[in-house]
């Protein structure tokens, strides 16, 4: 089992072990100002039916016109996942009736999606990775929203989301555990956020997952799968898989068979349940949308999309480790969010400039400070790096002050606290509070002489071989200087005097 690190997870049934096979279909809302086929806005949380054009409301005779930016975004996403870009793709109609589907069909891509096969590398912790195949990505319209709980007899329909562009990202059934599914979503979300094609906000529904779950005896062919629709958090995805896999094993072990069906996850009960009644007559009657012509992309377009991509997290992580000498752990933490990596990189550049030292030499110190001091504090405050009260420049200035000996590492922590509170520049705080480190040998020597004179007992002890007492003297000097004495200078001066 060690070869395939992911398959440690199994369901222990009454009759033996079962393997879980998972594939995910992620609906990711494309970041764009206007909708896929209309000029209405896409912002979240507007008043009902205000972000709706007559096209989105499917008025008679209204026609779709495609937003080029959404195509660019889908292609960029494909390229970021190392996928094939299809230079010819087609929009199809997926026909079904629902109150929040105004046209009576969803414009989607069926036979010819814009993006073909790609891969995604999962980080499974402890440096373990696993490759998961991407089958395809296609563009489609979102539906509106039905609200069933506002009125006893009525359902309210808001079409604000109707027509918003979605990318459906379909994985291969390559995952084998809830952890892997979680890692897949985490990694996908990271990549989408890096390249700015989806904000990855699962609570607001801008990223939703349909999870295909089946179970089998290890080595057997694929079992019948159930699709759990619209799961809206990574935690729920994991819970849903655990519940569903167990449910399927129980059925099979009881001599039953699995019906291929669509199920819903109920987060309150932690269960999945069948939505068969709605499924009953589904036959989507896909056919090419005659209101739209085929989508054709040329090489120049794809090249431009490729050139617009930032450095991707996997590449960045490798660079952090290999060129900057960061630990794998630090690199992993920093690249998990683009904003964190950006903060770190800008800080490092500013620090290098301020100190004249190489980035390589400073990288680990800077990473440690960003991860433990800054992130630790932000976490406590419930803030993210994007709304950090400490700017990149101030952070770099603080580390530079330590680097050039103006303040000690310990004083730096005090200064940082003030920075978080006030947003002031560290140099200014150091000046205002007189925290500059004392390195003047004359001044420190005078203090040491005074302390030696006042503490005969301890001097005797030291000279009797209890060299640990050295710490006492350092402490006294620091106390006398309010922590500002340069510890190196103190050590240098103290030892010969004690040694007599």
């Amino acid at each position: 089992m060690s070869a395939d690190v992911g398959s440690a997870y199994c369901i222990q049934g009454a009759t033996g072990d079962w393997e879980v096979v998972l594939g995910l279909e992620v609906h990711a809302q494309v970041i764009s100002r206007s909708k896929l086929f209309s000029g209405a806005a896409t912002d979240f949380g507007a008043e009902p039916n205000t972000q709706v054009s007559l096209v989105d409301a499917a008025m008679p005779g209204m026609l779709p016109t495609i937003n080029g930016e959404c195509v660019v975004q889908a292609v960029r996403t494909g390229l970021a996942l190392g996928a094939e870009i299809n230079h010819y793709s087609v929009f199809d109609r997926k026909n079904y009736f629902y109150a929040d589907l105004p046209q009576g069909y969803q414009i989607s891509q069926f036979k010819h999606p814009v993006v073909g096969e790609g891969t995604i590398l999962l980080d499974l912790g402890d440096g373990k990775t696993k490759e998961v195949g991407i089958e395809r990505i296609h563009l489609e319209q979102d539906a509106g929203k039905s609200m069933h709980d506002q009125h006893p007899e009525l359902t309210y329909v808001d079409l604000n989301r109707s027509g918003v562009a979605l990318m459906e990202i379909v994985s291969r059934p390559d995952m084998r555990s809830p952890d892997e599914a979680g890692a897949y979503l985490t990694k996908l979300r990271t990549i989408l956020r890096y390249i700015g094609t989806c904000d990855g906000n699962m609570e607001q529904g801008s990223m939703r997952a349909d999870v295909n779950v089946s179970v089998r005896r290890p080595g057997d062919p694929l079992g019948t799968r159930c699709e759990i629709k619209n799961v809206n958090s990574i935690r729920f995805v994991r819970q849903a898989i655990e519940y569903e896999a167990r449910r399927q094993v129980d059925i099979i072990e009881d001599g039953g068979t699995i019906d291929q069906e669509t199920r819903l996850f109920d987060p309150n009960k932690g269960e999945t349940r069948s939505m068969r009644s709605k499924e009953e007559a589904h036959d989507y009657r896909y056919f090419p949308d005659p209101d739209l012509l085929p989508l054709e992309l040329d090489d120049a377009f794809v090249t431009a999309a490729r050139d617009s991509l930032p450095e991707l997290p996997d590449v960045k992580r490798t660079r952090f480790v290999e060129s900057l000498g960061l630990s794998d752990y630090n690199a992993g933490v920093l690249v998990a969010e683009k904003e964190s990596a950006d903060y770190f990189e800008k800080l490092l550049a500013a620090l290098a400039e301020k100190t004249g030292k190489s980035a390589e030499k400073l990288a680990t110190k800077a990473a440690n400070w960003v991860i433990s001091d800054l992130f630790g504090t932000l976490n406590k405050m419930g803030k993210t790096v994007s709304d950090s009260p400490v700017t990149v420049d101030h952070g770099a200035e603080l580390l530079a002050l330590v680097e050039d000996g103006t303040i000690s590492g310990r004083i730096a922590k005090d200064v940082f606290e003030v920075m978080v509170e006030t947003g002031d520049a560290p140099a200014r705080i150091v000046e205002d509070k007189g925290l500059r480190q004392v390195s003047d040998t004359g001044e420190i020597e005078a203090i040491i002489d005074g302390i030696i004179a006042d503490n005969h007992g301890q001097v005797e002890q030291y000279r009797a071989g209890k060299t640990k007492v050295m710490g006492f003297f350092v402490g006294q000097v620091m106390k006398a200087t309010g922590g500002k004495a340069n510890p190196q200078v103190v050590n240098q001066l103290l030892k010969p005097k004690l040694d007599g």
Partner: protein, 499 residues
């Protein structure tokens, strides 16, 4: 003409009225008033389902101001009717379906907007087959339109053809100088032939479909119905044009169609498709076709026999493709956002859908929605829909090859003259066969016209069809003009409806 009485004004052509308007001999208001009266007088035809006389007068006054200011366009001040398929802002638009009962769009179709921008005057909305599905105007929720033409010495009514029945009847009945129409499989050309009017279906993509209630999106195309070829050229020029709001509208400049009417077709090669000689077709139609060939030959055209080998498959192809698209296009009529809503007592959403659609659609529409749903459904898609799309390609290829040899094609417009009400309404396939000559060009997206060319033994009009290459409406119009001239078709229906 300065002493023309109002009733005479309705007999003017668009070209004639344009000249009199620009010279100041008549005012747009006078012209509008004469037509408003004619619209009322034509009530027995049932051509108009909505009349907009106030709008007409206001638009006429604006046209007069524009004429006076010297910035008039060719359609300025010309009173027209609008097929109910075109959305008109604030004016009820139902595609003559019960399911759109009371629908007042908050938007204007591009084609009508273009006409209003050119200064045309709106008389009202015209009757049609429900959702343009029909060839006799018998499927309208507002009842059938009567053909202004009657057989010699007869008092029986005839169908005007369809689906643009109201358009052709209003124009033939002098209750509009021109009318917008739409053609999916022949809905402009066949009714034009049945009523002695000129109808032009331009190349697919020439007129915007924005705001035109969709029947079959890959086939629907707007065009004019008028009493002369020149009038059609003028009106088409105003209707056509690239529209960014329609992804299938093609970005090409609109030529001066009127300028194409040179009357000179010397050296032009006219194709005669052998497959259009149908067994059992009335001999008068064969004769008229031969007559047409002779006229064009006499005008200096070269007649060339051509083959369009997949012609016989055009109708079955059409009756898969069009219903398939329609079944999807009509899914939006669900009672949620506009139009009819019918919920049985205690019913839920699903009941609302089924009852609303069951009540709202007429039998022919239901039939086509059923066929369309069936041919797209799991297990049948490849055998029907995909097959039809491939045959459609072969039909288009037939034309492409033919146009390597010829510049235009001459055929009869329809296999018969107008027929009596009820004659074919019990047999869908017999009704579908009406479009046998018009459907192939629709499938290929090619332009075509119907020109009145003669009368049958009963005194009912017959039309000849001219088809052209994609984007070559100019040749279609030029040949149509020559045919019109040669035919010298001056017969007019007796205005029995005014009695």
């Amino acid at each position: 003409m300065s002493d023309a009485k109002p009733s005479d004004l309705t007999k003017l052509t668009i070209a004639g009225a344009r000249d009199m308007l620009s010279s100041g001999e008549i005012s747009a208001r006078e012209l509008a008033q004469a037509h408003i009266a004619a619209v009322d007088a034509a009530d027995p035809l049932n051509a108009y389902i909505v009349k907009t006389p106030e709008k007409a007068l206001a638009m006429a006054d604006a046209a007069d101001a524009r004429l006076k200011a010297g910035n008039a366009a060719p359609m300025t001040g010309i009173p027209i009717g609008v097929k109910d398929l075109f959305a008109t802002e604030g004016v009820r638009t139902t595609a003559c379906s019960h399911i759109l009962s009371g629908f007042e769009p908050a938007y204007e179709s591009t084609v009508t907007q273009n006409l209003w921008d050119a200064g045309a005057v709106m008389l009202g909305k015209l009757n049609m087959d429900e959702f343009a599905m029909g060839s006799s105007n018998e499927t309208s929720h507002y009842g059938p339109v009567k053909n202004p033409w009657r057989a010699t010495g007869s008092n029986s009514d005839y169908v005007p053809g369809g689906s643009s029945g109201g358009s052709v009847a209003s124009v033939a009945g002098y209750a509009a100088m021109g009318a917008t129409a739409s053609d999916t499989g022949g809905s402009i050309r066949q009714p034009a032939a049945f009523t002695g009017t000129v109808g032009v279906k331009p190349t697919y993509g020439r007129c915007s479909r924005y705001g035109m209630v969709a029947f079959a999106s890959s086939l629907d195309q707007a065009g004019p119905v008028t009493r002369t070829v020149r009038d059609s050229a003028i009106m088409l020029g105003a209707m056509a044009g690239y529209d960014p709001k329609d992804s299938t509208s093609v970005d090409r400049s609109v030529p001066d169609f009127e300028a194409a009417l040179t009357g000179d077709i010397r050296g032009l090669k006219i194709g005669i498709p052998q497959e259009y000689h149908l067994a059992g077709m009335p001999v008068e139609i064969e004769t008229l076709w031969h007559q047409g060939i002779d006229w064009l030959k006499a005008a200096g055209a070269e007649i060339v026999d051509i083959n369009l080998p997949h012609t016989k498959y055009a109708l079955p192809t059409y009756y898969i493709v069009a219903p398939a698209e329609a079944s999807s296009n009509l899914a939006r009529y669900d009672g949620v956002r506009y139009g009819l809503r019918d919920v049985p007592q205690g019913g839920g959403l699903a009941d609302m859908y089924e009852t609303t659609r069951g009540q709202g659609f007429g039998p022919e529409v239901k039939r086509r929605v059923m066929i369309g749903t069936y041919v797209l459904s799991a297990g049948y898609y490849d055998a029907y829909y995909l097959k039809a799309q491939k045959v459609r390609q072969l039909i288009a290829d037939d034309f492409r090859r033919a146009y390597e040899k010829v510049d235009a094609i001459l055929t009869p417009t329809a296999p018969s003259a107008a027929f009596a009400f009820g004659d074919k309404s019990d047999d869908p396939i017999a009704m579908y066969l009406n479009d046998v000559f018009t459907v192939p060009a629709s499938l290929a997206g090619l332009p075509g016209s119907s020109v009145p060319a003669g009368l049958d033994a009963d005194g009912l009009p017959l039309g000849l069809q001219i088809l052209g290459r994609a984007w070559d409406e100019e040749t279609v119009l030029k040949v149509s003009g020559v045919l019109e001239e040669a035919a010298g078709f001056t017969a007019r229906p007796q205005d029995w409806w005014r009695a």
